[in-house]
């Protein structure tokens, strides 16, 4: 059993992190907030880097990698708070012309009837007839919702890659909280020296590491029950992590200027995109009786 990342997987993760740091770093993120809109040039670059064709067989022009690699790539996307219907386009690669190489932007009707980036998308998967625009809480994700009869259960891989994005955002958030706790001084010392703050940070890390084990394992097994568990824990790590990070930041955390709210709002969007938590909990509860025979 070698659960840790292989050399190739580490190289892939580092490569994607490098690309996203160059192309969508802190300044680009702030610029995107001030001037929303899907960056088609970046989308094509992602396509060229294999972001969408990662799991397509090489004979079909893909990279021929598996779910664990896709999870690592989407974790990096989540860490960078990269905007756009990334998961939907990735899942459309091979089915929708242009999706694999980043020429087409594909969105989908997600859990709860949520549709992201409907105006920017070339193709919508699912029935978006009668979609109503919302004033999106997340400045980087324009949102619509479809009538209840068009709502479908999200596919497990859609949930898994969304969980991977949540994991990446949770990791980013934890690092931001720790960095702030180390550098922000009050009462003559860094606030991270106070146990009340230190323990918030410790719990942030615990949630990230528990979610990481669950998400990576679900990527290996591709089992829907493992994915449901991973999804619940990753949502918790991202949403509660952002809340606690905001608390560590104090008044600054409540400002538009600090990035903390961007992580929280995206985490909220992704948690809804996966459908009701109740559904995942019911699946997990039912499995307890199945396994018991």
């Amino acid at each position: 059993m070698r659960f840790q990342l292989t050399e190739d997987q580490r190289a892939l993760r580092d490569g994607v992190r490098g690309l996203l740091t160059r192309r969508f770093g802190a300044e680009a993120l702030r610029a995107a907030v001030e001037q929303p809109g899907l960056d088609r040039k970046l989308w094509r670059e992602l396509g060229a880097a294999g972001f969408f064709s990662l799991r397509l067989p090489e004979v079909e022009g893909g990279v021929g990698l598996g779910l664990p690699e896709a999870v690592l790539v989407f974790e990096e996307a989540g860490r960078a708070l990269l905007p756009g219907p990334l998961v939907a386009t990735h899942l459309a690669a091979g089915d929708v012309p242009g999706a694999a190489d980043g020429e087409a932007v594909v969105t989908a009707v997600g859990g709860g009837g949520l549709v992201e980036w409907l105006d920017a998308a070339d193709v919508v998967r699912g029935d978006a007839t009668g979609a109503v625009p919302m004033r999106s809480v997340d400045p980087l994700t324009p949102l619509w919702r479809v009538p209840p009869h068009s709502v479908v259960e999200p596919d497990p891989v859609f949930l898994l890659l969304t969980a991977a994005e949540q994991l990446g955002t949770a990791g980013r958030t934890c690092e931001a909280a720790v960095q702030h706790a180390r550098t922000r001084g009050q009462f003559g010392r860094p606030i991270g020296a106070f146990q009340a703050v230190k323990h918030l940070c410790a719990e942030l890390l615990v949630r990230v590491e528990v979610a990481r084990a669950a998400v990576y394992a679900a990527a290996v097994t591709a089992d829907p029950v493992d994915i449901a568990a991973a999804r619940l824990l990753a949502d918790e790590a991202a949403v509660r992590g952002a809340r606690d990070c905001l608390q560590v930041y104090g008044g600054m955390g409540f400002t538009w200027e600090a990035d903390v709210h961007l992580g929280l709002k995206r985490a909220w969007v992704r948690a809804e995109r996966g459908g009701l938590h109740t559904e995942s909990e019911k699946l997990l509860a039912g499995e307890l009786l199945i396994e018991a025979g």
């Binding site: 059993m1 146990q195 410790a202 890390l205 084990a213 669950a214 909990e281 509860a285 018991a292």
Partner: protein
């Protein structure tokens, strides 16, 4: 990322599983929790059976993965717990194996592996709990012996132990971490008094140990004089690493039993109960994966588990308490009946966020040693 086992590991699992199926039905009945001599005999007898079958050294000689498989299979088969052998196999044993002289290893390790001697732990003191390094039990040198005076607390299996791994202060003049030594003390030595402590669960699971001028040979010191703190950290890293594998497996089994009970008694129809059980399923699945992650990491780093154990322990101890809270919700008024299954377990679970380093201390460890936050 690979969760599969090697053919050798799978062969080990199959062999162990077949052996367990053969021997478990022939085990004597479990002694009552109050029958300490009976418990000692039962636990040592089980260790002897493991030893004779070639599994005696699995706790510290095998690879972390083989240890994981051993704990998973024995727990799933309902085999006895490590019980009275816990300190010998998982605390004192690994410490002596890592830090003892050849002579010390030859003297102390074989009787532990063969199920002949029981060890207990004399670390905590009434005035040294979370601040363990503040311990006051004094050891004066008198020729080739130490003379030890003081008191220890929370010592499990003290009533039936042959040996105690004892932390003593050998130099009170230096900073607290630098004046501590690690001694192996015979529990039948003159001057040792054991006073059992009753837990809130009603049983006497641990004891206070009073030491009045107990003579311990200098040859029974493991590691250098005043180097006991470092020697101790070796032990504690074992405790926070792989020691909980069997318990996670056990929790998953209990959770399934709680779900069955909920269905049988009608509580399953309450969606709030179902959601709660579903959440716990996610929780313990993740904790199992985190266990595999830590074991896999220990495997590649040469066997000694790192501070990642603190991350695990923080989450696990809380989850195990929540497990029995969920059981209580399913049981309703029956949760007030000590004769009902899980009720005593619910009481026992209250210790998990305290024993082996409180959650508050674990958060300090995570904050300072993993995240690099400054000390307060």
């Amino acid at each position: 990322m690979d969760l599969s086992y090697t053919p050798e590991e799978e062969a080990f699992r199959a062999r162990l599983r077949a052996w367990l199926a053969k021997v478990l039905p022939s085990l004597p009945p479990k002694p009552s929790p109050d029958d300490w001599p009976g418990r000692r005999a039962y636990d040592l007898g089980w260790q002897r059976m493991l030893y004779d079958a070639g599994y005696g050294e699995v706790h510290w000689d095998a690879s972390p993965t083989v240890r994981l498989i051993f704990l998973e299979e024995t727990e799933n088969a309902g085999a006895p717990y490590v019980g009275a052998n816990f300190v010998g196999l998982l605390h004192a044993g690994p410490t002596i194996a890592a830090e003892g002289t050849a002579e010390q290893r030859a003297r102390w390790l074989p009787p532990v592996l063969r199920g002949e001697e029981v060890w207990c732990q004399g670390f905590s003191e009434p005035e040294a709990g979370s601040d363990l390094a503040a311990l006051r039990t004094r050891a004066y040198r008198d020729g080739d012996e130490y003379v030890v005076t003081g008191s220890k607390i929370w010592t499990s299996h003290a009533e039936v132990a042959d040996w105690c791994e004892l932390l003593v202060r050998t130099d009170p003049s230096v900073p607290k971490h630098r004046g501590i030594s690690w001694l192996a003390m015979r529990m039948d030595a003159p001057g040792v008094t054991v006073r059992p402590l009753r837990t809130l669960a009603g049983s006497t699971e641990f004891a206070e140990v009073f030491l009045d001028e107990v003579r311990v040979p200098v040859a029974h010191r493991v590691g250098e004089e005043n180097d006991g703190w470092r020697v101790t950290m070796v032990t504690l890293s074992f405790e926070r690493g792989t020691a909980f594998v069997g318990e996670v497996v056990a929790c998953r089994r209990v959770l399934r039993a709680i779900a069955r009970e909920a269905r049988a008694c009608g509580r399953w129809d309450d969606p709030v109960v179902r959601r709660r059980l579903g959440r716990l399923n996610a929780e313990f699945r993740a904790l199992w994966r985190l266990t595999q992650w830590n074991v896999s990491e220990a495997e590649s780093s040469g066997g000694v588990p790192g501070v990642g154990g603190s991350v695990f322990k923080l989450r696990y101890s809380r989850a195990r308490q929540e497990l029995y809270e969920a059981a209580a919700e399913v049981l309703g008024v029956r949760a007030l009946d000590l004769g009902q299954g899980w009720v005593v377990d619910r009481l026992s679970s209250l210790a998990y966020t305290i024993a082996a380093g409180t959650s508050e201390i674990q958060r300090n460890i995570v904050g300072e040693r993993i995240l690099g936050l400054p000390k307060g």
